[in-house]
């Protein structure tokens, strides 16, 4: 599925700059708030769901070449983190809902772990 479908279906708020999200393919999903686990667990071109909003998330997403980070429970990252995401070309999306709900909705859309 593409990232635009996910944004529309889950009513996600885009924190970074606009892009052609129809052309960004999402192949898998991963959820954790421990960045050491994400570094070994998340797959390239996947979407990562977390409520961690520390700026280290950008480096981790960049390292793994993730399609997007969905930050849950409205845990708004600071401006520097958003700027860093724009610099690195990382897509940041925000939801008011908890991780459980976002993962459930993605699963219903047909997204799987690997």
């Amino acid at each position: 599925m593409n990232l635009q479908e996910i944004i529309d279906n889950l009513h996600l708020k885009l924190l970074t700059r606009e892009n052609d999200f129809y052309s960004i393919n999402v192949e898998s999903g991963y959820a954790s708030d421990l960045l050491s686990c994400v570094m070994t667990g998340a797959k390239s071109r996947g979407v990562w769901i977390t409520l961690m909003s520390h700026s280290n998330i950008i480096a981790v997403a960049s390292l793994l070449d993730l399609s997007a980070i969905i930050i849950t429970e409205n845990a708004m990252p600071d401006e520097d983190t958003i700027a860093k995401a724009n610099d690195e070309g990382i897509v940041l999306l925000l939801s008011i809902h908890p991780t459980f709900q976002i993962v459930g909705q993605l699963w219903e859309m047909g997204l799987r772990g690997t």
């Binding site: 960045l35 050491s36 570094m39 961690m52 520390h54 700026s55 480096a59 981790v60």
Partner: protein, 227 residues
């Protein structure tokens, strides 16, 4: 722990510098400082702060006023929830003889809504020393929770837990090489005193300790586990 017993135990082990660092709390620091008066033991007021990333960091100060300032900020960032004594235990505030003063009703075990970046800035601006604690541990350790130590946060030191040596720790986490590393006991009981950090300093102040950590102005420190 009872203040006079903390002082007595530290002295009997030949330790002359300790800090009181309750979790998100500072209420018992003054009692231990008071209990140590005239004993030769220096007690630094401090706090073990849990930031929103669920990372524990040790915040150390010279004065209770500085610690009070931090406490005010932390209080404003803690959720308005009550402690559950049955599950989480008591949160007593005691005087210098260990007599009960009051129960802290507020839930302290949780995270303050402060990022580690912000907390580091606040403590530094207050003149304190901010040390990420037990960085090797999966629970509440900075490496586990953030994947790596944010390079723009210039920590004076990192603390490792008592269960491994510095060499072993660097072997497991090569990224901590180059940081000043100390090892403390995370002392929750009188028998836990580790006393592994030796500071060669003029007097027990935050500035002197910072100099020793960076080994400048002829100050230095060494970590040596006692057998």
């Amino acid at each position: 722990m009872i203040p006079p017993l903390i002082v007595q135990e530290a002295i009997s082990q030949g330790i002359n510098l300790i800090a009181i660092t309750d979790h998100n709390a500072s209420y018992n620091a003054s009692a231990v400082i008071q209990a140590a008066k005239g004993s030769g033991l220096t007690v630094l007021p401090g706090m073990e702060l849990q930031t929103e990333e669920e990372i524990h960091s040790i915040c150390l100060f010279d004065t209770l006023d500085q610690l009070d300032e931090l406490q005010k900020i932390v209080d404003s960032k803690l959720p308005d929830m009550k402690n559950n004594i049955e599950y989480l235990g008591e949160q007593f505030v005691v005087d210098d003889e260990g007599e009960f003063i009051r129960r802290e009703e507020r839930l302290l075990i949780t995270s303050a809504k402060l990022s580690i970046d912000k907390a580091f800035e606040i403590v530094t601006n207050l003149g304190g020393l901010f040390i990420p604690a037990h960085v090797n541990r999966e629970a509440y350790g900075i490496i586990s929770h953030l994947g790596f130590i944010p390079p723009d946060l210039k920590f004076d030191a990192l603390e490792i837990s008592r269960h491994l040596s510095i060499v072993e720790c660097i072997d497991r986490f090569p990224q901590i090489k180059g940081y000043n590393i100390i090892q403390s006991g995370d002392v929750h009981y009188l028998l836990d005193f580790l006393g592994a950090n030796y500071f060669d300093i003029e007097k027990p102040t935050i500035l002197e300790i910072k100099k020793a950590l960076h080994k400048i102005d002829k100050r230095s420190y060494v970590v040596k586990k006692r057998s």
